[in-house]
Amino acid sequence: MDKIINDFTINVATANGTGSQSANLIILHSLFEMGVPVSGKNLFPSNISGLPTWFIIRASDRGYQAPGDETNIQIMMNKDTWEKDLASLDSGTIIIYNEDAKLPVDRDDCTCLGMPMTSMARGISPKMARLMANMYYVGGIAHLLGIEEDAISSAVEQQFRGKENAISMNLQAISEARSYASENWGDVCKFAAVSRDKSSDTFLIEGNEAVALGCIYGGINMLSWYPITPSSSVAESIINWIPKLREDGDGGSTCAVVQAEDELAAAGMVLGAGWAGGRGMTCTSGPGISLMSEFIGLFYFAEVPGVIWDINRTGPSTGLPTRTQQGDLSMCYEASHGDTQHIVLIPGTVDECFEFGWRAFDYAERFQTLVFGFGDLDLGMNRWSTSGFEYPSQDMDRGKVIRTQEEMDSIPNFGRYRDVDGDGIAHRTLPGSGLAPILYRGTGHDEDGIYSEDPQVYYEAMQRLKRKIDGSRDILPAPVIREEDEGEVGIIFYGSMENSIVEIDDLLEERGMSVSTCRVRALPYHSEVEQFIERHDRVVVMEINRDGQLYGILRKELPTHLIPKLFSVAYSDGLPPKAREYANRVIEVLEG
């Protein structure tokens, strides 16, 4: 049989809390070990045990990382979703199912491959049979795709590091399953996994851990946090790395960690830390930003540095807590009452999660303002490939902080909020220094920080703030542009959509469209974004939300003559973006 090499999507339907995550990661990592370009997505419920979970593994020599548009191999372990899972499959799908579920598999148009997984697992360990049963589908998949034994062993060892008993039991289960499949199923699979040269440098990591390491290398002094999915692993990862990377010679920690009573308090602590001259950060998700909004305005108006990482989940309200979205962009950009505008950094890869992790503190201190890191569940909690993080290329930027009397004397006409340099950024002094003390406040204040309700003073203060943040545009990360000469269609996108863009681009090129892409990496947007729009006839702004939030921001801020060029493709169902879904919508909006 001619095989389709390294181009398939596996969907595993299980219930959470049954140990299936280990089995899924073993499949993912064994393919990765073989050098097969692979990505994994965990679609999990907001629940600890018993609700349906799907894990999608996509292998693609072309490097496509979006979940595949169709499932090629379906693994059926969950009785609760059995019927629906079965009904959703296209003709020709390979179905691996647990015979012990004793449920019908009446799809004559598919290749149905059963195995008594739970009974077989009972042979190894009656107690662990429910957990071990998952390893049998690993063995079944390994047989069908031809996953190498070495790769499986290495993935199992990685998964159960140091637990020799678990390693041998699981390897035995996989091996039994492989033999069973070989004897009972035969060579029925048209897909195969074939080894590729794997760079020895690459590894898989979750975006949230990359953010955490970025913060560690950014010199974070204080982490305050309130647990919320999907951001908690940022905090937990920082806590995990502090003893290894952030202790002084005497074993003292150089980063304080406070689990706050709520998100309001977490934001207040970041504000206090920034005011006192430290690098404070909190991580949260949309509901947390809603609560923090009061403080966010104070950061902006009192001009205090701080960092908040928003790992987006599906809103509004409690929404779909374990699903992904880019639904918080406009909120982050303009959070809090009155006129505000905040710097938002938007990583699209795990490398950028690390880089923006440390850069966020530099921007916050440089511009004396709040900086958002904008991630999402897809990038944050799924594993992505990197060839290793790069050490910060620049020294820390601590901003305009006056630390000595000599420095103070060198500034003519000092005032905490007086723009003596013409860049909108004034100089500040720190509590404890005794230098030019003022009472910071969220009320109106003049250039010396004194309470004022004077109309002209208020007007000028707000104009300066606008100028200050506007001045960050071309200092913040520039967009990543992949440009075709034709200048026909441009696509503007951001964040985790990076993982689907190559495939979307290919699908559109297949339709004869010449497509350039521009990935926005920060707000306020860089001047190159505007130039990109200038150079293209029609520009689609593509994003994972309902209302087209970046589209709205662009329409508000772009010169009027560019606005007719803009089209919005905004779609969100809680799941990571499938390429065809978006490609079709782009075609529809441009041709429709």
Partner: protein
């Protein structure tokens, strides 16, 4: 001759701007006592951080200690801002002013959690039972049956912040009255010498909206219903005990963190401030009789503070250099290698 404190500073070095509160406001008396206490204790003004929330009371940090940095934050959220500042600079002396609206309503959660962490700060509640800045609505601390100048009497049960603090294990809990200059000065000086959360709930009459005799928080009412637990004298660590006059009656001494002493002279019943149950009994009995119990209610020294439990670097974190904050390039190579080996 101008009087100087142990730092050779005049009292004027501790003063602030002109108050914009109503003439006769209890809060202004408290501001003066803060100036007096900080000066007498010889605290460096630049080492103090003045913290507040929102409300009449929270405006007052503008009226004292002009040489200290401060932050007039948002309503009810002063404790969290103080926590963050404390985490990165544990050497600052935090003196915070809040009100009954700020602490007992919108900010009660942060108040509770700051106590739970034993945040190292002085937390003064200027407690008048009304929202002054919004023109006289009742707050959550006002007594049942108390009546402000306009409107009907309050029908809801009050929140007693001292009782709550005692229950939460707050390490220093006192109540006083803005009109009791000697008592409040001694208690405030002791609070400044304490390490950990020191709460002083100060009854501070609102002269504009609730200084009528039917108000349980008017000058007249408090003066005639003040149940003083003990007479308090503060003896600073830089003034040897032998030079202090020994009172004639019974007394007990409390040793404070910085080596200073608070002397409690027995009035009628002996109150042991180490006894949380006794503190609660004193509060509840006074409340039942429509009286305000004042003095040092509860004291529980030597408890770890919010920063003690974190094993932080000795240097305040905001003072660390880039070399101390950013791990080496070599370490990142090891981190990457570790992931590759997984």
């Amino acid at each position: 001759m101008v009087k100087l404190n142990v730092l050779n500073l005049e009292k004027s070095e501790y003063k602030g701007g002109k108050s914009s509160l109503c003439p006769g406001c209890g809060h202004d008396q408290i501001s003066n006592i803060i100036i007096q206490a900080a000066w007498e204790n010889g605290i460096k003004p630049e080492g103090i951080a003045k913290m507040s929330g929102i409300g009449c009371s929270s405006k007052t940090p503008a009226y004292f200690l002009a040489k200290s940095h401060g932050f007039n934050t948002v309503h009810g959220r002063m404790p969290s801002v103080t926590t963050g500042a404390n985490m990165v600079n544990k050497d600052l002396s935090f003196i915070a002013v809040s009100g009954d609206g700020d602490t007992a309503s919108i900010g009660i959660g942060q108040f509770i959690h700051a106590i739970r962490r034993n945040l190292d700060m002085v937390y003064i509640i200027e407690n008048n039972g009304v929202y002054g800045l919004t023109k006289g609505q009742y707050s959550a601390t006002v007594e049942k049956g108390s009546k402000k100048k306009k409107g009907t009497a309050n029908e809801q049960a009050p929140i007693d912040l001292c009782a709550m603090a005692v229950n939460l294990g707050c390490t220093f809990v006192a109540r006083s009255f803005s009109g009791s200059k000697k008592q409040l000065t001694a208690l405030l000086r002791a609070a400044m010498s304490h390490r950990g959360m020191a709460i002083i709930d100060v009854i501070s009459p609102c002269v504009t909206f609730a200084n009528n005799d039917e108000s349980y928080r008017s000058y007249n009412y408090v003066k005639t219903n003040d149940e003083v637990l003990h007479i308090v004298d503060y003896i600073p660590h830089f003034s040897p005990l032998s030079e202090v006059e020994v009172p004639e009656g019974e007394f007990s001494d409390i040793s404070l963190f910085d080596g200073s002493t608070l002397r409690l002279e027995t009035v009628s019943d002996d109150h042991d401030p180490r006894d949380a149950v006794a503190a609660l009994r004193a509060i509840h009995e006074a409340t039942q009789e429509g009286r305000h119990v004042t003095g040092l209610l509860y004291y529980n020294p030597d408890q770890p503070t919010a920063t003690d439990t974190l094993g932080l670097s000795d240097t305040p974190l905001m003072g660390l250099s880039e070399a101390e904050l950013r791990p080496s390039a070599e370490s990142l190579k090891e981190v990457n290698a570790g992931f590759r080996a997984r």
